[in-house]
Symmetry: C2
Subunit: 107 residues, 2 copies
DNA sequence: ACATGAGCTTACTTTAAGTAACATGCCAAA
DNA sequence: TTTGGCATGTTACTTAAAGTAAGCTCATGT
């Protein structure tokens, strides 16, 4: 249980990606800007955690939050360049899942 | 908070990868077979959770566990084909981290 | 008989996630 | 002018997951 000797950037990246829901949220936003309720209904995440995750991702510079003061207010979340750069990661996960995870049950 | 309409394989993959430590463990095993204490000392994971994760990964068919009845017993963990197939995912995360995560502090 | 090393396991504490109800700000209908 | 509804959260509380530390097992070595 000592400190790591790994590339700290990789570890940091992993730390971000390995929080529950983060990957799915990023993947969802790769489809284009979306609002809170839209993301919320894309998978069974609670509003509380979605709010927290979006804040985290915004803090990391991965997600951008735009407020449109319409009525009712519209808030759109989208990926920054840093966020969009995660696309290849998502693609590889998708490829792997497609090839190695059976649709009915996992082997 | 309803059921998803996403590709369930992708979700399943994400679910595996987004458990804390899983990615780092897989990445570590990409360097070749390793024993428990070796993985344990590669990053600050507790033995309790490492044990749990290795069991999960074995169950998922990603990790293989080989017992060598020497003295003291040696147990080697290695990646199956399914596990090795995660290499491109790791590479992409590494690429992203390299390009977008500053070494000193994250932007 | 006691100690050692690897690989867990059990009991307990702390942190993260889930649930549900409520706050806010604005407008529209009753 | 009170009521209600929509969108985006937030607060208070409960459950699940992760962390910590101590102990167990097996075989051997002193």
């Amino acid at each position: 249980m000592n400190e790591t000797t790994l590339c700290p950037r990789f570890e940091k990246g992993m730390q971000i990606l390995s929080k529950r829901w983060t990957g799915l949220i990023v993947n969802q936003l790769l489809n284009g800007p979306q609002r809170f309720c839209n993301i919320e209904s894309a998978f069974p995440i609670s509003g509380r955690i979605l709010s927290e995750r979006l804040k985290d991702l915004e803090f990391e510079g991965i997600v951008k939050r735009d407020v449109y003061p319409e009525t009712p207010v519209r808030i759109e979340y989208s990926l920054t360049e840093k966020g969009k750069a995660l696309a290849p990661v998502m693609v590889e996960i998708q490829n792997w899942a497609q090839e190695w995870l059976a649709p009915i049950q996992n082997q």
